[in-house]
Symmetry: C2
């Protein structure tokens, strides 16, 4: 930190992303990426002819991408805004809907980035504890006067909130925005997208990083009422109008249009998740009920930190959060069957030593 | 605007990007893009094998890209941060170095985005008028106590500030950050990059959108002391850690490494600029002395708005700012010789009517 840092920047709480080792020698089960390459249609879309057009700016309105997203979800293009990953969209939402007198509430155990972004805009943040069993109870947010942010499924637990509970939250205070972060929804949770037409105060964010195999392409989007989307665009055009690059616009639209590939990837992840949960339970793990492309599990024999370090030494990366309440757990991304088998081998070799 | 908008977002002043017609039927001389495709090395770097890896996140540290940039400028990787275009980097700088008690100063006639971004963070912004001849005089900023942002060359004028003047500004107050936005520097201006090792309070931003034909790839970067770069990373990791996507990381590094192609593109633009300025002057235009890939010019016969609309009707897009002091001018991107000839034809056909 330099002597030039503003007091506001001093108060930031930067997010620590999962390790991204550059040598690629690990089995990477630590950042919830897809084990499958992008759709063949994405690869086709990224043609040499399109690369030659990189000298021209991307469409700031993201019209073709937004239209593809809108079609997929039965909404209008005025209900969609796209971003450089859903992280960017979340930042836009914090700026658009929070500020003086209107803070943000989110769970104590959730995506760590909400905390970082609330600090970015100097917001008052209320951390609402998950219940003892790690469930998120919307009753705990009913009277909060600011913006409510709920990851559904939640990370790193993988657990869901019933859509009917979110509906009650939306109805309780129609002047309060509820942001539902559905980064992991495609792996088996119920989505709030069908409520977008009903509730003007609902914003649903999604990402193509997980279920659409485009983590490295950085494409996220939000669905909401025309009014909310216009507000987000107001922020976007104050921050970075050309926020999605040309190739990601193409890749995102192609990924969104290949419904068959999308479904088969999600199905494979769900099958591998069931296999993984069972294999972990057989080995004495407690596995929280996951609807995401990861499981959150703790061993009855090895503390979380030790498991993380032991697996890493054996070439398997999982994510461990050195944080109260969840220190005993590791978050394991659901990869291919071969990757999950390698994980079990790593676990077996560690537990054999204890 | 919705009833959910925060007071802070209400105070925003969103930027209006140049028209990006999707039908591609115009000769586009309105957004300062390169008329040349990216380097053949960029096209090679964007291979199918790399597209297949889009399921994995990009390197949040942008290590390979930053290393290529550092090598090119004789700096260390700790002196570089990359972003989703230099617009994003500028936003990081406003957040990092400005805030309560420390505003930002910039010219009244300059890149309109500074205004938008200062509003994004609720900063006090001082607009310092350019002199009568549109020159920027650093004396006018000497006693400003906050962050100074200077586009050099300036946009939309194309005019430069001598590096020695910026040096005096840096020395006057070593506790004040001076941001020099060198988006257009490669087309003939003197760069402040050699001062980066000398002055801890200097931040130079550059973009690959212009001289490296990657506007649609969205790659920008800043060069500065290790301390300033660390501050920018603090903001980046609070906003969007994976801010540059995989393909843009590759494209940016390849573009940075192809020095020969870069030089030949810049030379062609300079030659076409000289040709264009002369052709305009022959037609009675006043052309400001430009070191950028555009010229700012006014006709002695047609008002700026009329010229813009007339050219657009004839299929040529230039940029017109309906703004005090510069309403008579249009900003014309330097394209290929064929494009500039089409422009002259358009102008001739308009002036024949007057």
């Amino acid at each position: 930190m330099s002597r030039f840092l503003s007091p506001e920047a001093l108060g930031l709480d930067p997010y620590t992303p999962g390790e991204q080792p550059r040598d690629q020698q690990y089995i990477k089960l630590n950042t919830n990426e897809s084990p499958f390459p992008p759709s063949p249609k994405v690869l086709e879309a990224l043609s040499r002819a399109e690369a030659e057009k990189l000298c021209l700016y991307s469409d700031p309105t993201c019209a073709a991408l937004n239209a593809a997203i809108a079609r997929r979800y039965g909404l209008g293009p005025e209900n969609v805004v796209s971003g450089n990953g859903s992280d960017e969209i979340l930042a836009f939402a914090f700026r658009a809907f929070c500020g003086t007198g209107r803070g943000a509430a989110f769970a104590d155990i959730t995506y760590g980035f909400y905390e970082a972004q609330a600090a970015l805009f100097g917001l008052e943040a209320r951390r609402v504890p998950l219940r003892e069993d790690f469930s998120l109870c919307t009753d705990d947010y009913m009277d909060f006067p600011g913006t409510v942010v709920i990851a559904n499924p939640n990370a790193p637990t993988g657990m869901t909130v019933p859509v009917d509970h979110i509906r009650r939250l939306l109805e309780k205070d129609p002047d309060r925005v509820v942001v539902v972060d559905e980064a992991y929804v495609d792996f088996g949770a119920e989505s709030c997208v069908p409520l977008v037409r009903e509730y003007e105060n609902l914003l649903v964010t999604q990402t193509m990083s997980k279920s659409r195999s485009l983590a490295g392409g950085r494409v996220g989007f939000a669905l909401g009422s025309g009014a909310l989307i216009a507000d987000l665009n107001r922020v976007k055009y104050s921050f970075n109008p050309y926020n999605v690059n040309r190739l990601s616009l193409l890749a995102g639209a192609a990924a969104m249009e290949d419904e068959g590939y999308f479904r088969s990837c999600c199905r494979a992840v769900r099958e591998n998740r069931a296999w993984t949960a069972e294999a972990l339970e057989k080995r004495g793990f407690t596995v929280l009920p996951s609807s995401a492309n990861f499981v959150f599990a703790k061993s009855d024999r090895i503390p979380g930190g030790e498991l993380y370090r032991g697996l890493k030494a054996g070439g398997v990366l999982v994510r461990w959060f050195d944080k109260d309440r969840i220190r005993d757990f590791v978050r394991i991304t659901i990869g291919s069957r071969e990757q999950m088998e390698a994980l079990m081998k790593g676990i077996d070799s560690l537990t054999a030593k204890t």
